[in-house]
Symmetry: C2
């Protein structure tokens, strides 16, 4: 709960520094019970204004209280008095005391779990799951992969099984540089780093650039895996909305007006953006707006991290050049992988960027896990070299395009009036906005009872979650299931809308049971 | 250079807090040029004693100066005035200013490079390289691996190529739990996490447990990859020496007397230890001393991270139960992989530990790279299930044992008197101590001219490097090369000893040229 007022009495004339006075009084308030675990305390800026002291003084006091384990800050939520159990975290462990080790007290950062755990409803195996943004495994070219793995082990097995270079397996780097060239990016070998996938690329970028408190401009909503990394890096996520076509905006994608304001008002360390078929909204930033974003980045001298993972899944319309391809100032670091177009079980991705950034990331990669698995790298290289990737991608685009069309027809036909959705030209999902007042979390409960699943929008927001949004992933379902799923979904939404109009028993419904899944929400 | 005295005049009676006075005066000294980039400043404890103020006051001032980019601390080396170029790191970037982006100014931590870059001499391809602690690729069972990869892709290809569980591929976890059971560790599925190898296991453990400033008890010398991680986590590495058999100690391995003193005098967060065939010394801790170490850990309630990567490479003598197998208090987290006994190009390792630790590591793993490559996991599982690992390991042990024997005979015969070496019973290397006054770095220069390479001991120390030590890796060389290499090495050492006795031209020799290698020093 919020406390409107904390009784603090600082004495500027005292010998005791103000920060120490503040720290000691706050500590006393906790010990006396005036401040209780869970209580929210004012932001340092706010308290500094109230007390008419310098913000650094408050920040210093807070830093000490935090390192004592008395308070804890959550990105985007505020600073709170900590549970007593965790206060013991930073005091010396009781020696000779009996009882087993308390592991919780040893973890570096209890907040990590907060950022890391994204709870997901349990998925019954027979459900129609619009949950996923992963490629459908029934279409995996398993025999082709097998033939590639076989060939590379036969031809270069010793090299593959030996310890390798931290920047990546040479033959894979070569074919990727060719692909990049075709996509308008003339990169050298020293500008390309192979990683274990986009998730690791983001993790390395966070290690390379971000300190606690740094500002990062992020789309809101965004990919939960990116938010996990940013949360555990304890940075300030500065939101810019994502325009979707549903609202008949001038353009879709990152809201540049907001982005510019954020850049003007904050010291921003990085811009993280997915210009093509953004996850979860499916929005794509047009070329002219990409140019503007690049100009903003150049003006404020802030690097852009471009997540390019969905870009090859363009199902219709003309491709737009990537930010990296348009970048004339060396400001863009592009992260990418074939996980969305081929098979995510092989953990391979890459980063392209300025040489000195790539060299820094390479050192961090080496310290993180030496190098990426070489059987996966060699197999993928062979898969590309033989033209199998191109062939597979063409097939997937044909199939996914058809699924998208079926989905659009079904939404048109089966979703009640007042439900809006984004028009997407690629990727793996559409974004649905229910009439105001409906809660996608509650909807999921009823849909699940009837065998249909989706991801409520709130999993993707780090600020101001819109409870009436949801993501429908269409790539993993065949056309029949898409139609059947939409029929059910339409009925459930209609029923919820009727209840809502009757002022119905909305609040009697139990919250959906959530379980930690061992598979990430992607 | 060291400055014996810094002119500081604090006024305890001032309204300005002492820490702010200290900070401002230090800043002024830098700006006036009294303190210059590269100057070393006293440790906070030392300065606090000199100025008769509390250490926290000095630490607070230093923290602020550091975040301003004026000073920089290096683990084990001290705190220094920073180069002016890097001072700009933390001031807002000049807007509208011309010129390209200064990436260096954006990196989160310049010290990272320091911990991450371990420079190694360039390796001529025709040299006899006693450099490596990796298995020799000529002995890789490539055809067996190929047949396993083939079989698993045929049988479970769709599952392998699909996104997987963050805790690991089920079939691999099963065979590993069987192996662990045989080794005396009765672990459940929830106590086992698959990683990309021991390097990643260490990285995850650092993320889970370590905050800047935490104390970690580490063997000195130790595996450089572990030191890289600890350095970039900015922890205090608290050294305990490693006894080797050469000095006719009561026992070999971690010095328990020192370890106990370190535990008594410091708040230690973790103990990191390699009880079997420690890299680089090859030392193995006997069973009785393992028991004592476990008792110490229980007494001080400090978890032990046991690096078990070399343990299966026992070439003679009886195996000693692992710390994890002896652990009755749930204090040990064991990290392991087959990279030393099979093939490191497949990046797979694992951690076994208490369930709540493994769950925390799993969340961090998921945020780091979703999960480990599944083709590698499935292939390894099949390799184990078919008995191929056991068969391969037997063969490697036979071959390495013979190589070790040849090495020992060659050292006996060709190394001059005064050179000592550790007696090892397994692993991949022996540790050599030259007569005092000889420098292994200089020796390497001459040895390299004659086509023989090794790693000077200083790469493995984080404190008090012993310049007269070196590591000879024997596993990667055939018997003939071992003999030839030792003949040359003996001659070079003898020649250096003679020069030394003559007070020779030691200082006219150029330092060996070092280059960053894209392959990690392991």
């Amino acid at each position: 709960m919020n406390r409107p007022f904390i009784p603090l009495h600082l004495q500027p004339e005292s010998e005791i520094p103000l920060y120490a006075q503040l720290r000691d009084q706050m500590r006393a308030l906790v010990h006396s019970g005036e401040l209780e675990p869970g209580d929210r305390i004012p932001a340092s800026r706010e308290l500094a204004t109230q007390l008419r002291i310098h913000r650094t003084t408050v920040a210093t006091a807070y830093a000490e209280l935090e390192s004592e384990g008395l308070i804890v800050g959550y990105v985007g939520r505020g600073t709170f008095i900590r549970e007593p159990a965790t206060q013991r975290q930073f005091s010396p462990p009781p020696r000779e005391a009996s009882g087993p080790l308390r592991w919780e007290a040893l973890f570096a950062d209890e907040r990590a779990g907060d950022g890391l755990t994204r709870l997901l409803p349990e998925v019954p195996s027979d459900a129609i799951g619009f949950i996923s943004a992963k490629p459908t495994e029934d279409l995996f070219p398993v025999d082709d992969v097998r033939s590639c793995a076989n060939a590379v082990l036969k031809r270069e097995g010793k090299k593959i099984l030996q310890l390798g270079a931290s920047d990546g397996y040479g033959p894979l780097k070569e074919v990727l540089l060719d692909i990049l060239r075709v996509e308008g990016i003339a990169a050298r070998d020293s500008q390309l780093l192979i990683t274990d996938g986009c998730q690791q690329s983001l993790d390395l970028l966070a290690k390379a650039f971000l300190r606690p408190g740094d500002g990062v401009l992020v789309e809101n909503p965004a990919y939960p895996g990116a938010l996990s990394i940013l949360t555990s890096a304890r940075v300030r996520c500065l939101p810019a909305g994502v325009e979707t076509s549903q609202a008949r905006q001038r353009y879709s994608g990152l809201d540049l007006k907001v982005a510019e304001a954020v850049l003007e008002q904050n010291r921003v360390k990085l811009i993280l953006v997915t210009p093509d078929f953004q996850n979860p909204t499916g929005a794509t930033l047009p070329a002219a707006e990409r140019q503007k974003l690049l100009e903003l980045a150049a003006r404020f001298k802030v690097p852009i991290v471009e997540d390019h993972i969905y870009a090859r899944l363009r199902l219709r319309g003309n491709p737009v050049a990537s930010l990296k391809a348009m970048d004339r100032n060396g400001l863009v670091i592009q992260i990418d992988s074939f996980s969305k177009v081929a098979f995510p079980g092989l953990r391979v991705g890459w980063c392209v960027g300025p040489e000195r950034v790539i060299e820094r990331l390479r050192l961090l990669k080496q310290a993180s896990d030496l190098h990426t698995d070489q059987l996966a790298q060699a197999t993928l290289a062979e898969f590309v070299r033989r033209g199998m990737l191109e062939q597979h991608l063409k097939r997937m685009i044909r199939i996914y395009r058809r699924r998208l069309e079926v989905l659009e027809k079904s939404m048109e036909r089966h979703l009640p009036g007042g439900v809006e959705w984004s028009r997407v030209d690629g990727g793996m999902s559409v974004w649905i906005t229910l009439p105001a007042g409906l809660d996608a979390g509650e909807l999921l409960l009823h849909a699940r009872e009837r065998g249909v699943l989706f991801v409520p929008g709130r999993y993707f927001y780090f600020q101001e979650p819109q409870p009436n949004t949801l993501r429908l992933g269409f790539a993993g379902l065949d056309e029949q299931d898409i139609v059947r799923g939409l029929v059910t979904l339409g009925q459930v939404i209609e029923s919820e809308m009727r209840k809502k109009q009757r002022g119905g028993a909305r609040h009697t419904i139990e919250k959906p049971e959530e379980t930690r899944q061992r598979v990430a929400l992607i």
